[in-house]
Amino acid sequence: MHIVIAGAGEVGSHLAKMLSNEEHDLVVIDNDGDRLKTIGSTLDVMTIEGNANSITQLKEAKISKADLLISVTSSEDVNVNSAILSKRLGAKKTIARIDNQEYLLPANKEIFENLGVDYMIYPEKIAAREIVGLLSETGSTEVVEFGGGKLHMYVIRLDQDAPIINKSLRELAPENNGLEYRAVAITRHAKTIVPTGDDRFQNGDLVYVISSKSGLKQLYKYSGKKQFEVRDIMILGGSRIGRKTADALGNQHYVKLIEKDRQHSYALSNMLSNTLVIHGDGTDMRLLREEGLEKMDAFIAVTGNAETNILSCLLAKHLGVKRTIAEVENMDYIPLAEHIGVDTIINKKLITASRIFRFTMAEEVTSIKCLTGTEAEVMEFIVKPGAPATSGTLAEIEFPREAIVGGVIRGKNAFIAHGETHIKPYDRVVVFALPGVIHTIGKFFN
């Protein structure tokens, strides 16, 4: 695919990193030469210094041959404009990042389609939806849904009390016989592996488990996690994510939102009728305590500042809040923050990248999710008739060791895959893959 990425900011750079491989020809446009230098010297991409709104520069990027334009500069206007121009200049598909809820309304969809913007991404909205989803699944740090909810992937952090600590997968297997879940990967010290039967679970491991809905209870039992009801929620920061989250949660939960800016607090309290908006500084720990931080079931820190978010989450954790979620936009902080005890990290870039990544994968991939704690990805494929994967059981088809089939959805049934599973055409399979093989495993199902 010939892909043009406009904007080498954090989302753009992350996408370039994910997409730069043999299969794609990437061109990155940005008006900041230094950023491009960093990308150009570390990735095998072509860089063009200039404006994503300039027709000359878009032509130089061979936009007429582009299969996809991804416009993710910091300016919504530039993104939309660049998508419109690119479509007219011949790009097959265009994606623009926006920060305006109005554009996404179904009533306005046609306007943008006519203009040539095929798809719009509003990262803050997706992030808010993700946070809401996480609060209903309190045992795991991240949840991914497959086949319309027939299978899930839960990410669980093991702590001292987990009964499975120091046991190998093989030892657990007889106990687990017929169980409805399977550990497909472990992230340990920021490195992700696909475990063999002899790998043992350790304290602090991040375990990726594919499970059916019914397996969840047993899964929590073995990992020593408890589901609990979330009632009181404190949100730190009235950013777009904070506002969207409060809006979605306000009806069923008691939500307190703390915002630093006085004017903005007023505006928020007007918009969010079911939320108690408090004007105050999130770094003021006394204020947080006064507002009853220790009584909260969940604490969500979404100020624009990663350090504030991480530290306030640690304080909340220290005071006994069971569920902490921090927005961390600095990628390098993520493994560190997870390691020191923040339950879940939200990262707009990864969320946006996941959404966009799907457009670059072949048709048989129905969904893909970039995970926060690791560079690995989990994908859902539809198996085509005659695909290599259907030629034998999973143990026989020489599937790469860096990837694993976790579950299979066949018609209305879903089950967990193992060595003896035989994949059939039109199955939907859930595959966990490490970065090295993400682009090669597709051929097994095609």
Partner: protein, 482 residues
């Protein structure tokens, strides 16, 4: 800090490649019925086994490349390539002495074309073919060739690319480094084939046409004849070679645009216009000089002037006339040309037209800045302001170039060479030109230089070809500090 495994692995692959190229000399020897084809087989086999010995044990380890590895690999590749490249000369006993063989080989790879051979025409066709082929390989770059062969080098490739390609700011023609390498080599191959056809159509034999095309496109300058191009007294051949020396000295990116019909882009390239301007200006002066002092007609004066100017400016180093016999002021003009070099992104050596232009512009702007101390007066190239950091790096390059040239001249003089020879030998090797002035002028060669001098000049050729910094950075303490 250095990823030794990756370095050894890649160097192994480079040697294997070289071995296969050695085997190309086998059919040449067989066609001419020469018995030394076995020697080429042996040389290739030794090189390939050495390469496999380095590559196979490590082939399963993951490739990791950082900036430092890039410099080590590029410099290492050129030294190793030259070391093993001596094998055909040594085994066939065409050049029995190792120092001489190494000098001849590295002079070939770096496209210098400075020779120690006094009996070129006595050597077998196979050996002379190998001598031309190494220039061709070195011209476009060994690393660039390796990038083409090694798909797995994708990401680290850009670092290697920019460490080897002779240009202040390397251009990519395609998002993938591998496809960029493919396009550059294809243009190179096409030019070489067209020149072969055109020379063959003149009164040059096919074998000589191939050998000369290989060394023209590399701006190398090795000839199969002791008298170089002067051996052929044909204006047609002189003009054809002049045209292709000119093409070899232009940025290959421009040739790519040309093939896509984007001629405006070529003319808009300021470096290209300066390149033509310099050639035109110097040719005019030399033509006038030769016409009034040489006594020949206007056409021979123009042809000799053009050929010598293009040959020295692009750092090819062919000669059709011995400029050491010209009037002194014409010799000085030729000597000045030795410090120009081809365009950036060409196969030419030397400081490159772009750097000369940036330096000249910056110097004249300095005068303006003295009158308007508060004015922002940037150096402009292609109508765009050149970034301050680029100007600084160009100036640093030119300063280093002058410094190295100065010190080296002193070293050569200390080794017992006379003044002309010392100056000429350094200018000719550091600039990858070939013939210098004095006792290393076009009619003579480097065979009389002291052994230590030959090793020192070999080092200069390598430093010059890799544009100073890639080699010099390895000598700096900062590089080895953790």
């Amino acid at each position: 800090m250095l990823n030794r495994r990756t370095i050894i692995q890649i160097l192994g692959v480079i040697l294997i490649t070289e071995g296969f190229f050695m085997w190309l000399a086998v059919p040449v020897a067989l066609i001419f019925g020469e018995s030394d084809y076995l020697n080429f087989l042996l040389a290739g086999a030794i090189t390939i086994s050495a390469g496999l010995g380095a590559y196979l044990p490590l082939r399963k380890s993951a490739l990791k490349l950082n900036r430092r590895d890039g410099y080590v690999i590029v410099t290492g590749a050129w030294v190793l390539f030259s070391l093993f490249g001596t094998l055909p000369f040594l085994i066939t006993r065409s050049i029995p002495n190792f120092t001489d063989a190494f000098f001849e080989t590295i002079s070939g790879f770096t496209t210098t074309g400075a020779s120690i051979l006094n009996n070129i025409e006595d050597l077998s066709h196979g050996v002379l073919f190998w001598r031309s082929l190494i220039q061709w390989l070195g011209g476009m770059g060994i690393i660039l060739l390796t990038l083409l062969l090694l798909p797995f080098l994708g990401i680290g490739g850009m670092q290697l690319f920019s460490a080897e390609v002779p240009s202040p700011t390397p251009d990519k023609l395609h998002p993938h480094i591998k496809d960029t390498a493919k396009r550059l080599w294809l243009i190179y191959l096409l030019f070489t084939l067209s020149e072969t056809m055109l020379l063959w159509a003149g009164d040059m034999g096919l074998y000589d046409a191939i050998c000369h095309s290989l060394t023209t496109m590399a701006t190398g300058g090795y000839s199969t004849k002791q008298a170089s191009i002067a051996h052929w007294n044909s204006p047609y051949i002189h003009y054809v070679i002049t045209v292709f020396m000119f093409l070899a000295g232009t940025n290959f990116t421009l040739a790519y645009f040309g093939m896509h019909g984007q001629f405006r882009k070529i003319w808009n390239n300021e470096e290209f216009r300066w390149y033509i301007g310099f050639i035109g200006g110097f040719t005019l002066l030399v033509t006038i000089g030769l016409f009034f002092t040489g006594g020949g007609g206007l056409e021979p004066a123009f042809r000799n002037a053009l050929f010598q100017v293009v040959s020295i400016l692009t750092t090819t180093g062919y000669t059709t006339a011995d400029y050491m016999l010209w009037a002194p002021w014409l010799m000085v003009l030729i000597f000045i040309l030795m410090f120009f070099g081809g365009s950036s992104g060409s196969t030419g050596g030397g400081p490159k037209i772009m750097r000369i232009v940036v330096m000249l512009k910056n110097s004249t702007q300095e005068l303006k800045r003295m009158i308007h101390p508060n004015a922002l007066i940037p150096v402009r190239l292609n109508k765009m302001a050149v970034e301050e950091s680029v100007v600084t790096s160009v100036l640093a390059f030119m300063a280093f170039y002058g410094l190295i040239a100065g010190i080296s001249m002193a070293v050569m003089a200390a080794l017992g060479n006379d003044l002309d020879t010392s100056i000429g030998a350094v200018a000719a090797t550091l600039g990858n030109i070939g013939p210098g002035i004095g006792k290393v002028g076009p009619a003579l060669n480097f065979s009389e230089i002291h052994m230590a001098g030959k090793w020192f000049l070999s080092f200069l050729m390598l430093v010059g070809r890799l544009e100073l910094f890639t080699v010099l950075v390895l000598l700096s303490p900062t590089f080895w500090r953790r």
